[in-house]
Assembly symmetry: C2
Homo-oligomer: 246 residues x 2
Amino acid sequence: MISKSEIKLIKSLKLKKYRIINKLFLLEGIKSINEVLNSDFIIRKIILNKSSMNKLKPLSNSKIKIDFFNSKSLSSIGNLKSNSDAIAIVEMKDNFRKIKYYNYSVVLDGIRDPGNLGTIIRTCDWYGIKNIICSMDSVDLYNPKVIQSSMGSFSRVNVYFRNLREFFNKNDLFVYGTILNSKNYHEIKFKKKGILLFGNESKGISSNLHKFINKKISIYGNGKAESLNVAISSALILDKVKKIIK
Amino acid sequence: MISKSEIKLIKSLKLKKYRIINKLFLLEGIKSINEVLNSDFIIRKIILNKSSMNKLKPLSNSKIKIDFFNSKSLSSIGNLKSNSDAIAIVEMKDNFRKIKYYNYSVVLDGIRDPGNLGTIIRTCDWYGIKNIICSMDSVDLYNPKVIQSSMGSFSRVNVYFRNLREFFNKNDLFVYGTILNSKNYHEIKFKKKGILLFGNESKGISSNLHKFINKKISIYGNGKAESLNVAISSALILDKVKKIIK
């Protein structure tokens, strides 16, 4: 049986404060848990509805504890109303670990909406981008809505957090930044290596980062909307760059 | 002053049931209200923080009533925590009104996430698509999260609701449908007129609609995610088709 103190821990992990104190986060649903079992994330414990046991992948790591619980209670202690099969307690990665570079990285300045960050992670995973560097004021990677909307992709894409001024000061990669009314991205021949920089939902890229942009790029439409959602903009650029992503 | 019965009405409009009974919905924030003042939506009443009066566009329609309220109470009766300037009560359009066709329309089968529908409306507005036809089981257009994430674009794009089987049976436009593992959309020469059909977040396009698809199309990546978010897929296709959208 799962103890009262564990229920208390699980409930506390809905809040960023307690995720940071405990260096743990929650994962909900068998599908997500199975994806994370294939990753380098460390699962501490899986709490499972007994009838869902056969859906769980065989555990390669014998240190993972399993407990059983009834479905009604699972949805009451987790975040997802529809979750009745499983919850896992997972160790957070160090957001400041050393960045391993690939030829293209995505840098996000001030993404605040958890659905946007999750969707960007999912799209990066689709196109083979393995690195996302977020500014310090971004939404928390381990926010349940980020995890959920990434559809498991957070386990395959490395997400780091950095002070972006310091990051760009130390870095000499070619930076493409999306700025309204600049060069049409379809007319650009993207270099073999680079960084794709996207800005906050309402303010765009911070003005103090503009000097680090080597090429300002834009997406053009024929309609009347003032702007595109940032998850949409990043996907359009990634689709354009995909042939050179390694 | 705003009456108790009006506060009750406004609070009730958070629920679809009461939106349908009253044929009214809520709009929050001066920016959205100003955009809708430019549209063919009919605003019944605007409830305004007095200090925000100068931000409101001049009203061309003298039938619109204005009331004042203090900011703290505004955020407590509306949906948006951050809204302290204005709320409007707006008349819903008839979802079943006659469709006015343009050369390209977007058809959505079973979109359930309000953020996705709002983002798709915004993207359609960006690319100049004026028609979206939603299946009957889609999320409500007037859900506050749909309205909010459309960033005002719902006032410029016509959104209709239809039984899609009946709709396709009566319609002879060429239908492009996104289905995994079919023809790469970059290799397709899109016709001058057509319909772009996108499916539900988890199930895709309903199997009983597949027979109406004239050309199955796919988006390809190099990564490991199982699929793309539907708002992302639709944006990629729209960017491809944009040159022929009129």
